[in-house]
Every structure is written in C-alpha cells, then in structure tokens.
Symmetry: C4
Amino acid sequence: MIEDITVRYLDNFREKTLVDPILIEGLPGIGQVGKLVAEYMIHMLAAEKIGEIHSLYFPPQVILEVDGLARLARNELFLYQSGGKSVVFLVGDHQSTSGEGHYILADCYCEIAEELKVKQIYTLGGFGVGHLVNGPRVLGAVNKKELRPALESVGVTFDRDEPGGGIVGAAGLILGLSAQRGIDAVCLMGETSGYLVDPMAAASVLSALSKLIDLPVDPTKLNDRAAEMEKAIESMVEGEKGKDEELNYIG
Amino acid sequence: MIEDITVRYLDNFREKTLVDPILIEGLPGIGQVGKLVAEYMIHMLAAEKIGEIHSLYFPPQVILEVDGLARLARNELFLYQSGGKSVVFLVGDHQSTSGEGHYILADCYCEIAEELKVKQIYTLGGFGVGHLVNGPRVLGAVNKKELRPALESVGVTFDRDEPGGGIVGAAGLILGLSAQRGIDAVCLMGETSGYLVDPMAAASVLSALSKLIDLPVDPTKLNDRAAEMEKAIESMVEGEKGKDEELNYIG
Amino acid sequence: MIEDITVRYLDNFREKTLVDPILIEGLPGIGQVGKLVAEYMIHMLAAEKIGEIHSLYFPPQVILEVDGLARLARNELFLYQSGGKSVVFLVGDHQSTSGEGHYILADCYCEIAEELKVKQIYTLGGFGVGHLVNGPRVLGAVNKKELRPALESVGVTFDRDEPGGGIVGAAGLILGLSAQRGIDAVCLMGETSGYLVDPMAAASVLSALSKLIDLPVDPTKLNDRAAEMEKAIESMVEGEKGKDEELNYIG
Amino acid sequence: MIEDITVRYLDNFREKTLVDPILIEGLPGIGQVGKLVAEYMIHMLAAEKIGEIHSLYFPPQVILEVDGLARLARNELFLYQSGGKSVVFLVGDHQSTSGEGHYILADCYCEIAEELKVKQIYTLGGFGVGHLVNGPRVLGAVNKKELRPALESVGVTFDRDEPGGGIVGAAGLILGLSAQRGIDAVCLMGETSGYLVDPMAAASVLSALSKLIDLPVDPTKLNDRAAEMEKAIESMVEGEKGKDEELNYIG
C-alpha cells in the first residue's frame, strides 16, 4: 500500500553536518510570493538538493519536464551551507488538495524540522489585498511573542488595516504545529494584489528575510524569475483546465 | 503521524475536583447563538480555561491574535466552580469541515463528558427562521423523554411551526451520541433570522439556561459582546475570502 | 474512537429463528419509491423492529421526533414472520454522503444478509424518466442470469428505452457486492418522474414484489402514506436548508 | 470490512507463463483515446480476460449489461500471447472519483506490473487541445530519458506547442509511480478536441504503438468501435444525470 507521504533524502545528504540550521518554507500560495522568494534564493545561492517529498494529498498528476520526462508532483528540500550557516529550503509544486491533507503535510514538515534540529523556521507567503500595491509592506506573524521584536527591527509590520484574520495552508499551519514541538517559527507575508506572480512583494520579503538571517541576496533578477514562473504556471493551469473538463465528463 | 484529534488539559486542571459537573456546549453555528451565550457566560463568570482541543477536521489555517501571534484553530474547555457547582464550557473557533469529522469530533466531546463524569449536557444553538423575530422563543430537544418537563417549566417550547426537521452539527450529534453513553443531554435553540450574531436570541437562551442550572448571569452586556463577535467574524471571513480565491487559483 | 458503522440488534431478536429469510431493501432514493414500498409493507404487515444501524457516513445531524426527542440518523431492520416465511426489511433515513461510504455501507448490508443466512435479496427503487408516467412499468436487474425469468413471469421488464445505464447507491451496490458472497439479489425499479414521492410507481413495484414473494399486501393506502412521507421530507429539507446556509457562512 | 481495492485473477490465469510481458493501460480519459485503443486491440487480437479489479474509489454504482445483469464498476486485465510475446491490457469503466484514490489505484496497477514482472508499461491517453485536429500528432512522455529515442523513431513528438503541463490520472501517475519500482514506462497521447470519443486520435496512437511493440493491428474498424463507445457512454451519462439530481435532492 502506498504511503500517505514519503520523504526521501538523497545520498549526498549523508555527508552533511548541519549546524543550528534554519528552515525556509516557500510553497505555492497567494501571489506565489513565498515560492518566488525561496526558489530565487535557492537559485542565487546555488543551494544543493538534498531530498524529495511525495504525497497522495498532492493533485493526482505528473508534471512534464521540458524534455518529456514525467515526474510525480513533489516538494523538495535544498541545503545551503557557508561560513557556519546551514539553511534548509522547502519548496515544491503544490500544497494539499484537502483540508486534512494540509494538516498531515504541515505536521510532516515540522517533523522534518525537528529531525534536522532546526532552530528557527521562516514561512513565506503573500498577503492578498485585492488591488495593486505600491511599496508593499511585509506583514509578520510569530508562534511565540518573543520573536516579534526581531521582525520589527527589520521593518516587518504587525499592523493590519483589518484586525483578525488567519493564514491558510502550510505557511500558517507550520507556525501552529511547530509550536507544539518547541520550534520557533515566524511568517513573513508580502502585500500583494494576489492575481499574478508578484516580484515586488517578493522583493520586500527577500529584503526583510536577508536582514533577519544575515544572508544578503542580490534582488535584481527577481523580475526575470517572476516572469518565467508566471509562464510556467499559466501553461500548467491551461493544461489542467482542458483535462479537468474532460475528466469531469467521463468520471 | 499527527492525531485526528488531540485533547490537552492544562496543568491547573489537576488540582480540580469536579462535583456532578454539567457541560455547556456553545460552538459556532446558526446566528452564533450558542457561541455567544457560552462565551458570554465564561466572561461574566470568569470561568477558568482548563483544556484545548485541536483537530485536522478543523479548517487548515491558523488564527492571528491581535499581537501577531498565530495559533491553530481550536476548541477550548473552561471550568466554573462555585458553591458546590461545577460547570464545564466547550467553546471554540470552528466546527468540522467534513461530515465524518462532525461525527468523530462530537463523539470525542461525549467521551470527554464521560471521563469528567458529566451528569447533564446542554448544547446551545440557533433555530434559523429566515426572518427577523420579535421576542424569540427557545425551542428544545432532548435525548430522553424524561428531560422534557424541566425544560417546559422554564418556558422552553417543543411546538415547532413546522413539524420534523433536524439539528445539524455538534449541538445535535452530541445529543444522539451521548445517549449511547447514558448521559442526559438537551439542546436549547433560540429563534433567529440566522444572518447575524443575534444577541436577542442569545438573551432568550441565556435566560432559560440560567433558570435550568440555577446560575443567574446578568444579560445586559450581551449586545456589546455580540457586536464584538460580529466584527471578529467579519474580518476573519474577509481574510479567508481573499486567500481562498488565491488557493483555488494555484491549488 | 467512534466506529464507522455500528449494527445493534434489539433484545427481542435473540428469541427469533429465521427460516430461509429474504431481505427487502427500501432506502431513500429516486421518487422515494423503494422507501415507500418497504415502509408501507412494514406498516401493513406490522413487522417488528429488530435492529438499528448508525454510521458516520450518514449526514452529521440528529432527527427530531414529534415529541422533541432527538435521535441519530439511522437505518433500521424489521422482521415479519408468518406461516414459515421470514422477511427482513432494511429501511432508513439516509444513504451515505460519500462515494466510499456507499460501498462500505452496502457491503455491511450484505454482511448482515450473510449472517442472517438470507437466501434472496430484493432491492427496491425508482427509475427516473424525468416526466410523468401513466401506468409505470417495473424495470428489473439481477445479479445472476438465472434470476431473470421469475421476474419476467410477474411482468417485470428488462427492456429499457435507452440501453446501458447504471443503478446508483445501495439498491445497485447490494446487487454487485452480494454476488461476491454468493447471495442471489434482484432490483425492482418503478418508473417515476423522480420529483415527488411517487405512490403510482410504488404500487407497481409492490404488486410485482407481492407476487414474487407470495405475500399479498393491500395497496389501497399507499396514497395516504405517500402524502405523509412527502410532508415529512419537505419539512426536513426546509430545516436543513436554513441550517446549511448558516453553517456554510460560519464554517 | 470491504477492501479498498480487490484484484482477482481468473482460474485460466494459473496456466499462463508470461515471458517479458508488457502492460498497456487504456482507462477512460480525454477523448476516450486510451480506452478506445486498448479495447480495440483486445477485440482485434482476441485477448483473453485474466482478472478483475474492484474498488471503493470507483463511483458507487453498478452497471447494467444489456440482459439486465448488474455488475460492479470494475477494471479488467486481458492477456494476449503469441509468438513469444506477452501483452497485458488494463482497461475498465472508470477511474477514481477522488484524488487520493487516484494515487492508491495507480500504485496498485504498478504493483500488479511488478508482480507480473512487466518489462515496460505503455499508458495511452488523449491530449486535449480544445479544437478539431487534422492529422493528430502523438505526444510522448517517459519516466526515464533513455526511453525517448525509441518513441521518436516511430514519429512520436515531444514538442508541445505550449511548454509545461501535466498528465492527470492513471496515465500520468503510473509513469511517476512505476519509476519508483524500477519499471520503464511511457505515455502516448493522441491530440484530440476532447469532446467526443475520437477515432482519429486513436488511430494515430494505435499506429505508433503497433510499431513500438511490433504488433500490427488493422485500424480500419476503429470508427465503428468509436461510434459504439460514444453511444454507450452517452446512455450511461444520461442515466447518471437523472439519478444524481434525485440523490442530491434526497441525500
């Protein structure tokens, strides 16, 4: 019987020694802000892939690489190590398709963090405001009060225009579930219209995150990367639309 | 692997001795009547929090407190003790998102009641009539015929304008499932339009309940509390709307 | 943890000796034809209740009896015994709310049939044609070819106007799943518009079934029973509508 | 308790010795291309049925054969053996109704392939383009780069007009999941409008597949077969529509 979730580490991972690692989560979400920032950092820092996650809570499809190679939908773990710093990245194609799957996957991510002895988790996302934003702010959330001042010191705001609200999906659940394991976690959300891959929101989040983890990353190629990602997502959505209509018809 | 449901009692709970406790359930529902009554009583009686319930049947999101602290969606247990009376309250952010989860959660609540040796359960809710109601009545339901006269003696009616019907969610299922464990349970439903947090319906339910359990609670601040709750719910719904659109787009 | 399905036999069942029993299934469905026929037979034959089935695949709600007593949604088993005949009836409030639940419940019904050593199963239903029908025919389906001639000898037809098609829910799945247990099963479907509780379709099915099992039942009160059932269903649907809107709003 | 999935081999299967078998999957999907090709090959090659697959992830209904015999929705395994060649076909009525069921079923198909020591899997499908296509191309996907040249040598193209995209359902997931078991697998997709059973797309796929497995099959009767299949699907969809409306009403 297929497992709900499988986590596989690559062979290269065995040689690694992680020192007080941090984990940065950037899965698909509002305005693709988290995904864009995390994948951009992986690219610019030449982080090394160390693992893969597959799950039957992801959409039931394979993804076609440009060369016609089909692969399961997946999440991936990357590692960047330099000057005593260990940064693990969690990125991927999809989040869960069901509510219960969201919880089970997010708890799995926290279990990975615990096993890797992660000291702090940063989850990245967008904060949808429904209209274009000039100079998008970065809004913060924490899973422990003591974590707030550090975020405020790099310009992250906790003043929402509307009070209350929540954070849906992995970026939020990781905060809640890692608290139960005693792991510090914060969420950085860039204000975004939410309709397109948003490099402006991503730049704001990247800037704040770079300061927080003391790891400068040149933001000048974010626009190019956003354009590529927008194109890739569009073609995937197009492809799925045609197929879903058909599957509904024949299901 | 994450548990379906986790029930955690706080440390303060160990020192407590409950004497013939009753359980009052007031989870979100029609016109937020049950939630408003139970949370208002907790506030006015200064009941003490004794436990928390988390579940993957709740919506997959965290809730942001005003100070930017993120926490998992949850239900909570509160305890009020005075003059030999022990009253446990069950309140919370959400009910289940799936039909099967509703059964599993409701059965968990009944298991808690059985463990605490609860003598009687009161589930609170609204009875949606679709139009504004002047002088809303309180409609009753019981899980044992013998429980009906006591309710009628405080003005609760069993005469529906329309015969038949049902009670959806925790307020109903707790009645059905607690009967199988031999626990008495009644449901009090205030007539309500159903469209807004309804302090008038709540006042009717509170008045009947106070008499039934012989615990007077001053109803004069119900309007203020209802206004606060309406505001909190609106902002949460707003927040989720924006996010859901996005998640649908990218999921 | 609550069971997926619980089957409870009443105390009176222990004294019974069933001789080559048959099982008649009449759960809710198209035009309520099966439910109407089976509940009418139970009423007219004064069959005795012998068991109850509860399941978390039923809708998450309790049903209110006229006297304010709340009970879980359920299916029921009734027994009629006379002159060496043993007839078990399976009726109830609901079918499953999920596709997987349909399979699990239908298999449970077949397991009950096997335990009771049922020789033949009759599942009853409506065959929706979308318009009013004068002199509705009874269409048949069998889970073994040898069962067809007996049905045809009492006027059941196997000539559909449109070829192909299927039978959704318990009435169909019981045929398929009982075959795997070596139990003979046939389905009788009365042609019906499908929009209302249909006593004309029920009369046709009752007439064919009475001949097949050699058990005459006076059909003259079917109209009254249909009118009662229509009223009960309407009020239940009304009640649920109001509640569901609200639950969607607050869920 | 009913199993998620049951795989039953017929008695005739025990006598067979499979030599380096290949597996051809043609389940329902876009334009019914895969189903049409596989069922047509089974018919023309007079392949022998060797097994059946039932699952609670299929729709909860039975299918009526022309003679009134009701049977569970199912997938079927057929075997063709000649001149040292062993070809197993996987065809059937339905794919899964849920995302998780898609993964579980596809993994079961790969497990079957592993047990039968299948050397190579061919999954067949349609590639929906939303408009009529003259001279439909066959698009390919592989689960290992080395498999691509063989496909290209028979005219299969890997040049999509739009980059990216995915393959939904069994045809795709089998590629991804069989890779984990070390089984080679390729997917052949005929370009199709997607709206009707498409014999033109099927002819293109059949032609490429025949060359790849060196097994010529006369394509001239594909049109007749497509017309039959279209009629069967229409009547099934008609039947389900009427029933679903009703089930929604009474559920």
